[in-house]
Amino acid sequence: MMALCRNAFARDLRPYTLLGIVIVIVGVIDHGTGFFFRGATLFSIMQIFATYGLVSLAVGLSLLVREFDISVAGMVSLAGAVAVLAGARDPWLGVGLALLVGLVGGAAQGLIITRLGLGSVGVTLGGLLSFQGLTYVLTGNQSISFDHVELALALNAPIGVVLSVRSMIVIAAFVLAAVVMQFSRVGRDILATGGDRRASTMAGVNTGGIVFGVFAASGLLCALSGVVLSYGLAAASPAALSDVLAPAAAGAIIGGVSVVGGRGRPAGIAAGVLVLCVLRSGLNAAGASADMLDIATGLVLLLIAVLDAPELARRLTEWRLHRRGA
């Protein structure tokens, strides 16, 4: 029984265990009203998933190689603005241009980080402010509406009760990422690079190329997220930076991605994001305000940051020995 418990909370299974726990808790709180297990609620959970999933995946990928891409929030806003502005006549042009901006922006950051040997936090902080600033400049610091309302309706129309085109695009990206990570050499190299970069380089892994590729992919994923979001809302507005970064990081971390690199899976990240989505939907159902979700997200982030801290075990042992000695 103990062993089972320990296994269930081991990193690889933790996201699914947490997801199960959250579903049970929300189900119990909600029991009787039957709100939670309705199709409409599941649909709204998947819509929230579609909003945060790809950004979480992007942050998670950067954490996998032991970097931290904090520019994601800026790229989501920028790609959304580019898509809406360039897609006014032809929406596909907007999609193409926004994805290109994401790819180029991410690749530029990856190039700076790998070529100059710089820490990713500093570089992506510059990227974050530049992307956000570019968004403000492009939109003139106001919300810009998108005329193709029929497109927004089509993206959000329910498919098979629970899904929509919007959430299916996000799920497809997750499946693709999972396949690449699981079955390709690139996936193995990504994990190896995050686990021990120097050893991987010695073993012949092109670690520089992997880090570069991860940042390019992160930019692309954020751009896709921004396009899907702004087309789905039929508007682009510069989002507050903290509104995106916190849930994105929380999803990845709950999803079992280690901040010290080398561990984590796209499927786990998906489960981690779903934990937050179920939590939000459950709190909504219970009539709690959005503040409670912020507080819950913050607490979970803090808890996992502590649990994953490299010196936690050592400190605990120290304190236990100290108490025994005293």
Partner: protein, 313 residues
């Protein structure tokens, strides 16, 4: 003589040349901007420098301690402004102390986790940011908080031509520099940032040094919150928005190393002046607020790239 000359040439690294050249160009650009030397713009720059400067002094301590930045300092500024306004009923001095202690405590809490367990500092600060915003929104309901008493009117005045906040900022910067240069905890913070393991080996209490750096950052951010609240006559959760980004930009532009272990408070202050002058020149030349983020970001990116020599492993 030749030795001195050699030293000078060697000191003139590309980063230094870039910094000197950039500073000179900025100065010329500023002086060529009509209205830059007007009384109004100088006074408004002094105020802006003072508000951002307090946060920068604190952010500098976090950077030097080897933890890059806390994304929660802007929210700490806001929360401290609310706490200050709400506790003014108890009198001015108690309110100031409560707000300072509040800022120091919530930021030191991040330092505890980072210092003792070596948790990821950026992640912890994102968690703290989310918690501060969530709890504050829950408690205030998003409302603006008006003073529960008066007595802060003289905060808006001037002493010897300079705004009150400028004097406090100057005191804050000098005190910060004194702590860093002349006290044991300051030395410990620098050593921790330079090499955590080596610092531990020579007997530095690394967790305490990190917690001290965070506590100082929280207190100086709270000071900015108090000054902003006094200036606007109310406190709210938007008052410090974006201050964390301006402060880290100032820290890096001033030349404090992003990897930690090197730099001074006064360098951070120089960075604040540069950032504020850029913002003022942009505003005077008719570029809206939206350009400030972009320019700040590009400058930050350039400065980080210029630090690459020192960071290459």
């Amino acid at each position: 003589m030749t030795g001195a000359l050699l030293r000078v040439t060697r000191a003139a690294s590309p980063a230094l040349l870039l910094r000197g050249g950039g500073g000179g160009a900025l100065l010329i650009w500023a002086l060529l901007t009509p209205g830059f030397l007007s009384r109004l713009s100088l006074l408004s720059m002094l105020s802006a420098i003072s508000f951002v400067g307090c946060v920068t002094v604190g952010m500098g301590f976090i950077t030097i301690s080897g933890n890059i930045m806390s994304l929660a300092l802007g929210a700490t500024v806001s929360a401290a402004s609310v706490v200050f306004m709400a506790s003014l009923g108890a009198g001015l001095v108690p309110a100031v102390l409560i707000a300072l202690l509040f800022g120091a405590a919530i930021t030191a809490a991040q330092g505890v986790v980072v210092g003792y367990f070596r948790a990821n500092a950026i992640l912890v600060s994102i968690a703290a940011l989310t918690l501060i915003l969530g709890i504050a929104a829950h408690l205030t309901g998003g409302e603006r908080i008006y003073p529960g008493g008066d007595g802060f009117a003289f905060f808006k005045g001037r002493i010897w031509m300079l705004p009150f906040e400028t004097w406090l900022f100057a005191g804050c910067a000098l005190a910060g520099q004194a702590i860093l240069s002349f006290t044991r905890i300051g030395r410990d913070i620098i050593m921790t940032g330079s090499n955590r393991e080596a610092a531990r080996t020579v007997g530095v209490d690394v967790p305490i040094a990190v917690i001290a750096a965070y506590a100082i950052a929280g207190a100086t951010s709270a000071l900015a919150g108090i000054l902003l609240a006094a200036r606007y006559g109310s406190g709210d959760m938007d008052i410090g928005g974006g201050y964390e980004y301006r402060a880290i930009a100032a820290v890096l532009v001033g030349g404090i190393a992003i990897r930690g272990g090197a730099g001074s408070v006064l360098r951070g202050c120089a960075g604040v002046v540069v950032i504020t002058v850029i913002e003022m020149v942009l505003r005077l030349r008719g570029y809206g607020e939206e350009w400030q983020y972009l320019i700040t970001g590009l400058v930050l990116l350039g400065v980080v790239m210029a630090q690459s020599e020192g960071t290459r492993r």
